[in-house]
Amino acid sequence: MKLTEKDISILKTISLIAGIFTIIVALTMVFSLIQLKAIDPLDNPALTGIKEQFDADPENALKAEQVRAMDLMARKAYFASRRQVETGSYFLLAGAIIFILCQQLISGNEKILPDIPGPKPDDQAQRNKKISYMLASVTVITGIAIVSSFMLRSNLPDLAIKEPGKSKAERVPGASTAAGFNPDGTNYPFFRGQDSRGIAGGLGYPVNWNGEEERNIKWKLMIPKDGKSSPVIWGDKLFVTGAEGTLCEVYCINKNTGEIIWTAAASGIPGEPSVIPEMDHDAGMAVSTAAANSDAVCAIFANGNLICLDHDGNRNWAINLETPENIYGYSCSLIIYNDLLLVQYDSNEKISLMGFDIASGEMKWETMRRGRAAWSSPVIGNFNGEPQVIINGNPYVSGYNPVSGTELWAVECMTGDVAPSVAVNSTLTYAVTDYARLAAIKPGRGASIVWEDNMFTPDVSSPVATDDLLFLATGNGDVACYDAIKGDTLWTYYFMDQFYASPVIADDKVWILNRSGIMNIVKADSKYELIAQSPLGEASDCTPAFSDGKIYIRGRRNLYCISEN
């Protein structure tokens, strides 16, 4: 592009203005960054003072409110400064781009003054000089390497004396699950099993089957009505829900033969709406998984119908909780703690955690939660001997006392559509959702994020954790294994198909079912090892159930029992 003298003069002026502007913005940003560095919103002296007062008097609701208000104010101030720096970055970038473009245009039109070099250099002499420089610099670098190797080794252990103890050093983490958590090998009572942790008891589950060829398929049953809910098991009975139009049903199936023992209607409950609530067309009324204990089985549907039956299919009680209105439809599964049925109720109108007496259906308490509706399910964890119900919410991941419903802690770290439930082990809680982050949270008073990552973030499937390892499967087809304590990514594998079902750990293996119905079975280990890939023969988004050496998978239409015997 040829420019005139006038054009170049204009460009020089623009370039000068852009240069000065960039320098001013840069200086302002440096000042803001220094200020930000000095600010720690959680270390504000006023906030610390009030927190100390609250710690001394934890029952004081006024102080608790003050702490929350101060905390919010300090965080707002911090993030306002951050926003200023971010805005400044864009100004800086714009100024620099204009400056550079102008300079490039000017230099492209500069007249070239012929530079007549002096005597022609002797190429060989120059090469020899270069060799001398190279040898000199290599000598210097080698000297530095030798000296530093001795200096840096000074605080390492004496390698000559000790030989690495293989048995301990090569200890494979992952063989254990969470300390003190020993899931039952027969009962698989909730969504993702006991305590909804995604860990199943029992051994000897089959790894090879083929649904189409009916290899290792003990029985296959077409569920009368559709549903996305997963099977749960108590004793020899398997429970699953289904719905067609406004008709909702609970099915009790003999887990050994595949015969339907009884079908219970979950419709016609006073207060239920006459039409299907608005929801994602792919969801349906029966997305939430039922919960069972030794006496009862409870189920909830997207129209708000909550029903409790005995193991013979007789209705103990039923109520309608008002239709939870949300864009995708209701999907929170139920969980039982002692004699309380816990319901995570997430609607546009309100979000809460409810505790119902499982015998009478009486609501014992309802705790209003903060934030927006989520599609996750409650999980029971146990930290320092204290049982907690943990909910992955938006924006708070929070823990509640399962007996009283009191909020124990909350960490603001999620955003967007939160569907995965948390994973827990004996020390940490792991919350994740797509387009947000994976956060390892130390639960309890003063709960905080221990580590976080945003490389692998499932949108539907929930993570599962042992004390050493964390596994998750994403909607893009990636499976990742993290060091549960430190957050290092230990391995990843791209399986090419989406995951909606949640991975389950059983028999030292991770069972990861993709949307095409292929079960990917990998070793629950810090090293990736694929054990088998077994097709169901139909698509599935449901999390499998494990019981007495058999695996139960609900496909799009059929329920399968997989067994080698």
Partner: protein
């Protein structure tokens, strides 16, 4: 870290990479347009830099390849493999066109560097060794599942994402400011992928030329390359006796294995110190210090370790295992550096005859700065 992208977009990145390389090759070799290459840099900076936030990039993909080669549990993403291989294939065909206008790290420096100053040859020689060391360490650390240091210490990624630790922002800003005068400082004195491109480009089938036709040996381009990548014509009139050159060549050929062994020994000795990059080793040091001196270990890792309930014996055993792995692997980094030194010396001793001013095929970034200094013109038939 940018958010995960869908597979289709990752393949779109590969398509854009290939298209950008083809266009840059045409601009550098056929069209000979410096302005075109500058605009290509603007595009690459915008797409691969600011839009894709510097990830995935070919420079960092070296580590993915190293990790996948030495760790069977890691499956390299196909796009990462393509990003690693495609620029190298283009280097074999047409030289370092990737550096000319496709690499976002090169582009940001190319656009900011316009008052070139030449560094003294001695300084240049010392700094030129750094990319080789950086590459050796990056491969070593990636292969031993320790760290992706190229990504972690990428000076420009913070600018692309408008977010990074202060130290990296300062480092990036300093490189850009120094780059105004010492053009492309990262490419010349740090880029580990540049080492591979340098090697591959030496065997390129075609390459950018300074002159569009026959060189008149006018010497106007002799000092214009800010990267010292123009080789003057040499009609075989060397000041050195051929016999002496031959002797030196044989000496350096014999020294190649000596350098390799020396490098292996030095790095074997450095291995335990290099293991300190692993957090477990640093944690073990901290805990050992606590045991020996009573100074409480207060780092986040130390607190997490204490809460996790692992024993100190387990930690120390893990530390020893890591150190042992570094001891076994580090010598290979030394061998690579020793061989690189040996072959570089041999290359400098081989006598050549050139009748024209030509770009150094390994060092030339194909940026086209030299085009406008050549007075030779090819007249198109009217």
């Amino acid at each position: 870290m940018p958010l995960q992208r869908s597979q289709i977009w990752e393949y779109m990145d590969v398509i854009v990479l290939i298209a950008a390389l083809l266009l840059t090759t045409w601009l550098a070799l056929k069209k000979r347009s410096r302005q075109g290459l500058v605009w290509m840099s603007v595009f690459s900076l915008a797409y691969f830099g600011f839009f894709r936030e510097g990830c995935i990039c070919s420079v960092g993909s070296v580590q993915n390849v190293a990790l996948s080669l030495f760790n069977q549990s890691y499956s390299i993403p196909f796009t990462a493999l393509l990003f690693f291989m495609i620029p190298l294939i283009f280097a074999l065909i047409s030289g370092r066109v990737f550096c000319a206008g496709v690499c976002p790290l090169g582009a940001i420096q190319e656009l900011t560097g316009y008052k070139p100053v030449r560094l003294p040859k001695a300084v240049e020689s010392v700094l030129a060794a750094v990319p080789f060391i950086y590459l050796a360490l990056a491969i070593l650390f990636a292969a031993l599942e320790s760290q992706f240091i190229i990504c972690r210490y990428d000076p420009f990624v913070g600018i692309f994402r408008l977010d990074a630790p202060y130290t990296m922002i300062i480092f990036g800003a300093l490189l850009l400011i120094s780059g105004i005068f010492i053009n492309r400082p990262y490419c010349r004195y740090l880029c580990p992928y540049g080492v591979l491109l340098n090697i591959f480009s030496r065997f390129s089938r075609r390459h950018l030329t300074i002159t569009p036709a026959e060189c008149t040996n006018c010497r106007l381009c002799e000092n214009v390359c800010p990267y010292d990548a123009i080789l003057p014509s040499d009609m075989g009139l060397s000041s050195e006796e051929p016999e002496k050159s031959r002797k030196k060549l044989f000496l350096y050929l014999l020294l190649i294995p000596v350098f390799a062994v020396a490098g292996a020994l030095i790095f074997r000795n450095l291995g335990p110190a290099l293991a300190g990059i692993r957090q477990e080793v640093r944690l073990a040091r901290e805990i050992r210090m606590e045991i020996e001196t009573g100074t409480e270990a207060v780092s986040k890792d130390a607190v997490a370790f204490k809460e996790a309930g692992k024993t100190e014996d387990e930690l120390f055993a893990e530390e020893l295992m890591i150190i042992e792995r570094f001891r076994k692997a580090s010598p290979w980094a030394g061998v690579f550096l020793g061989l690189s030194l040996g072959f570089s010396l041999v290359a400098l001793t081989v006598r050549t005859t050139r009748t024209e001013y030509v770009p150094h095929r390994g060092k030339c970034y194909s940026c086209g700065r030299c085009f406008k200094y050549c007075p030779v013109e090819v007249k198109k038939p009217s």
